[in-house]
């Protein structure tokens, strides 16, 4: 770690896989806290936006809890953030899930439905090999296997910041890295060794 002050905050906006992320950091002996109060977000040096959920409701909850704008401000002022699964999708401009809803716009892109383009099965569920497309500070060097479970995928405009892609019906963006913004579509906290290594790299940035 670069300095002593490196506290990770896992954002708790109601109904999510935050316990698994917390357990993974615990296993790695990395200090982190679950934070359910936006006004306390300033004490954290790094943020994790986890995600098992539906986009529209999660976006509403983030706004209702005061997190939405606070996260945008903190990330714009340089705090590293890692979005996981729905947490990645929420960083984009918008999603098609249950109609149309707006995301945080920190990543220029849209979240789209597998079903609408006829991918079968329309849920991407299971382990898949990612293909690394750009240099990354948190991914490994080879084409690694991670666990995915999602029915919507990220279509990112800024391809130069897409760190990895995967193939399920089509090839789509599953890892993003630009300055202090990191996002992955798969679940590192559920991807055994590869996943734990990714979380460790993020913590040690």
């Amino acid at each position: 770690m670069k300095d002593d002050k490196n506290l990770i905050g896992i954002i708790d906006y109601g109904g999510s896989n935050l316990k698994s992320v917390f357990n993974a950091f615990n296993k790695l002996n990395i200090v982190c806290e679950i934070c359910d109060d936006y006004s306390k977000l300033d004490k954290y040096d790094k943020l994790i936006l986890p995600g098992v959920g539906a986009f529209e409701l999660a976006s509403k909850q983030l706004k209702a809890n005061g997190f939405f704008n606070k996260i945008i401000d903190k990330v714009n002022s340089g705090t590293p953030i890692l979005g996981i699964c729905l947490g990645m999708q929420l960083l984009l401009n918008s999603s098609e899930e249950y109609g149309y809803s707006k995301g945080m716009g920190l990543i220029d892109g849209e979240v789209k439905s597998f079903k609408n383009i006829g991918v079968n099965p329309h849920i991407h569920m299971g382990w898949n090999d990612i293909k690394i497309t750009n240099n990354s500070n948190i991914l490994g060097e080879g084409n690694e296997t991670y666990y995915f479970v999602h029915g919507y995928y990220c279509d990112i405009k800024e391809q130069e910041f897409v760190a990895a892609k995967v193939h399920h019906g089509l090839s789509f963006d599953v890892a993003y890295e630009r300055n202090n913004i990191f996002a992955v579509q798969f679940h590192p906290e559920k991807s055994q060794k590869n996943g734990l290594s990714l979380l460790k790299k993020f913590a040690n940035l």
């Binding site: 109904g15 999510s16 896989n17 935050l18 316990k19 698994s20 357990n23 993974a24 615990n26 296993k27 098992v52 959920g53 539906a54 986009f55 409701l57 729905l86 899930e97 249950y98 079903k115 079968n120 099965p121 329309h122 849920i123 991407h124 569920m125 299971g126 382990w127 898949n128 296997t145 666990y147 995915f148 479970v149 999602h150 029915g151 193939h167 399920h168 679940h187 906290e189 559920k190 991807s191 055994q192 060794k193 996943g195 734990l196």
Partner: protein
């Protein structure tokens, strides 16, 4: 391409892992937390836990080891998710959105629904709205009755008189993310999977299917994989065969099945 998952299924009865046969005989196999630890060491693709306790009493029999007992399934899940860095699905007796909240927040990735859906199929929509369809596994237990696959509820005890092929299409329509198909006739019988019914089901839906019931040896896994299912599930074979998981994976790889 997404890989075929090989998934151990663990039945929990009153805090113990049990072996199941035709959904009725249950033999105790040991503490649920120790088993979870073991499966994590094996680096399994995913784990399915189904709580079949009727009394809903959670004694992990750990008093003898000087460790306290656990009072709820929530506590069991919390302990398992501290040991397991792989996808976990939980089911058995889920009736309310509050139970779902608690299970997800305790560290489960997917929840498994079964009997409740015969009274309240809208429960799928309710959960999907909050957690997304990908989070919902619909478990279906069926028996072949007069050459037709008929769905049973309440751990295989009660016939619903619903045809499996109608039911899978209905649960998909309401937002199920995945189907866990279990043959009651073949449970614990080691006679091979019910390939015909599984194949027919796959042709009817566009969501992943995990098939279970009847695995007798690793060649049964190959047969099922070649059928194209998303998940190959089994219970007993992993409990009683030495190094079973690793050996099964080795055979699948040798047979060119896309596994991890």
């Amino acid at each position: 391409m997404v890989k075929k998952r090989l998934i151990p299924v663990l039945f929990i009865k009153n805090g113990q892992i049990v072996r199941s046969e035709k959904f009725s005989k249950h033999q105790h196999l040991g503490n649920v937390i120790n088993q979870a630890h073991r499966y994590n060491e094996w680096d399994v693709d995913e784990l399915i836990y189904i709580d079949i306790s009727v009394e809903k009493r959670y004694d992990l029999n750990r008093n003898e080891h000087g460790v306290k007992s656990y009072s709820s399934i929530g506590e069991i899940i919390k302990r398992i998710s501290e040991e397991c860095f792989m996808p976990l699905s939980f089911g058995g007796g889920i009736r309310t959105i509050e139970q779902v909240d608690s299970i997800i927040r305790s560290g489960a990735d997917k929840i498994i629904l079964n009997s409740i859906l015969f009274n309240n199929i809208l429960f799928i929509e309710e959960i999907a709205l909050k957690y997304g369809s990908q989070c919902i596994v619909v478990s279906i237990d069926y028996k072949i009755v007069n050459d037709k696959p008929i769905v049973f509820s309440e751990f295989g005890k009660v016939s619903t008189n619903i045809n499996l092929y109608d039911w899978v299409q209905k649960v998909e329509k309401y937002g199920a993310g995945e189907i866990f198909l279990n043959s009651i006739d073949r449970d614990g019988m080691a006679c091979g999977y019910d390939l015909e019914t599984i194949k027919n089901t796959m042709e009817l839906v566009n969501i992943p299917i995990i098939a279970c019931g009847g695995a007798g040896d690793f060649y049964d896994f190959v047969d099922l994989a070649e059928l194209g299912v998303s998940g190959i599930a089994a219970g007993n074979i992993f409990h009683f065969t030495e190094n079973s998981y690793q050996r099964a994976k080795k055979l699948l790889k040798k047979r060119d099945v896309n596994v991890r």
